[in-house]
Symmetry: C2
Subunit: 272 residues, 2 copies
């Protein structure tokens, strides 16, 4: 914990979205001011999401509508990281996606060939899919039995939702792993080092020059800790002070909310 | 191994179905003769299946059509065992079934109230379901979050199929366990002691007076070993001699096929 040290020394600020910048459709008070202040100070800012349901353009539009003008290139989500990862390890490969229209279109645009023929599939890409069915599970199973790779966008068990929470990508991973008897080889989203690589590449900064700000210890803060990026927890999402006390992992900074950051240019931690 | 001991001493014969009595729609040669010979000797015969896709009546009809006249009361499948189990632990309870029409009808007929309202559900019953969807996963998740019990019919990873194999109940269990972070409390099908209890109750025999004949080490033979029922492996299903050699678990008898049993009234094991 470095409560007295300024966060001004950082050149790059990596913001988680849901629970950090907004909650569902509501901006967290002061988020806009904090982002604009940092940008005015010449800092680089990017936004992160593990959700493969929307494109980078969708997120940029949402933030812009909320008063934080944002370009798609400033957003890094797990479907974008998936496309980058696959382009690197196996360009133009034949894939089958357990996923919704958005990521399917994104991967198709990135040059991958989509197929439902198990004999042709080289990679089964498992993502958060509210249109998941037994038929999809069977295609994935038959493909993996014939040697296809098994990779996934994100490890999240559940996703926040207006009525509480709903099953996330872990459900689809659990089904495929159970029937194939095989574990996913790679999960590209937070807290994966694959996502970190894409972030640093987009920001053109070293890890030690960046601060990641998020609401989840198991993804945002863990990813920072694993990669040498400094970490700040906000208490507006899934983690409260009681959780933090019990947790083994400790962020470098703790803020009540993203809105506190612009008020405290010295970057003092409000709670230990 | 008791290769020289007669199987005539047993009073009850418990036959697995798929891989033992038939393969899909084809009777295994001599199965009819073996069953009829045993019945003529005054032995009790029942048939077992872990598949919750068909009713006991469906299996009785199939066997009768194949030349083995059978009553529904001589068939014990995992959906029947589930109905018996639930009737015992929580009669008239409110349940949600991840399953196909057949088991849903069977449980409804057994007096359980079906509901999709997570707040009302007391038991989530997970079964082999070729109509599984994200929506079903979400209902199960919301119910279990509110305290519903999680139970399942059978642990099978895959099910034999004309084109090879397809995902079985383990896929649905894997999805629900992964999103809820909870393990199924009870699986009633083979190799569960709950199924054994129903079998012995139906046969009115003691375990030591029975022989179970099946093709799977992990279900048929394991269940026998765990419960004091003697075991016979047939090599017409998923297990071959090489598998048997590597396996830790050893059946008391091994037959090339169910058809060998009536030819060898002394019940000699053809292979060690």
């Amino acid at each position: 914990m470095e409560p007295e040290r300024s966060i001004q020394k950082f050149q790059g600020f990596i913001f988680d979205l849901d629970g950090t910048v907004y909650l569902g459709e509501k901006l967290i008070p002061g988020a806009d001011k904090t982002i604009l202040t940092l940008r005015n100070m010449g800092k680089k800012v990017v936004f992160l999401s593990n959700k493969p349901l929307y494109t980078r353009e969708d997120y940029a539009r949402k933030l812009t509508n909320m008063g934080i003008p944002t370009r798609a290139s400033e957003v890094i989500n797990s479907s974008y990281v998936m496309a980058r990862y696959l382009s690197k390890v196996s360009p133009q490969t034949r894939i089958y996606v357990i996923g919704e229209t958005s990521i399917i279109n994104e991967l198709q645009k990135a040059g991958f060939q989509l197929t439902e023929d198990p004999g042709e599939i080289e990679y089964v890409v498992v993502t958060f899919d509210r249109t998941f069915t037994y038929e999809k599970l069977n295609i994935a199973f038959q493909a993996i039995k014939q040697g296809a790779h098994l990779i996934a966008t994100n490890p999240d068990r559940t996703c926040p939702h207006e009525d509480g929470e709903i099953p996330d990508c872990a459900g689809m991973i659990g089904a495929v792993e159970a029937v194939t008897g095989q574990k996913v080889e790679v999960i590209v989203g937070k807290p994966s080092s694959i996502m970190v690589e894409v972030i640093l590449n987009v920001m053109k900064l070293r890890p030690q020059d960046c601060l990641i700000i998020g609401d989840r210890l198991s993804t945002d803060i863990t990813m920072g800790k694993n990669s040498g990026i400094h970490t700040a927890l906000v208490l507006t999402g899934v983690t409260n002070l009681a959780d933090l006390k019990k947790a083994k992992i400790k962020p470098d900074y703790v803020f009540e909310s993203i809105g506190e950051i612009h008020k405290e240019p010295a970057g003092q931690s409000v709670k230990k």
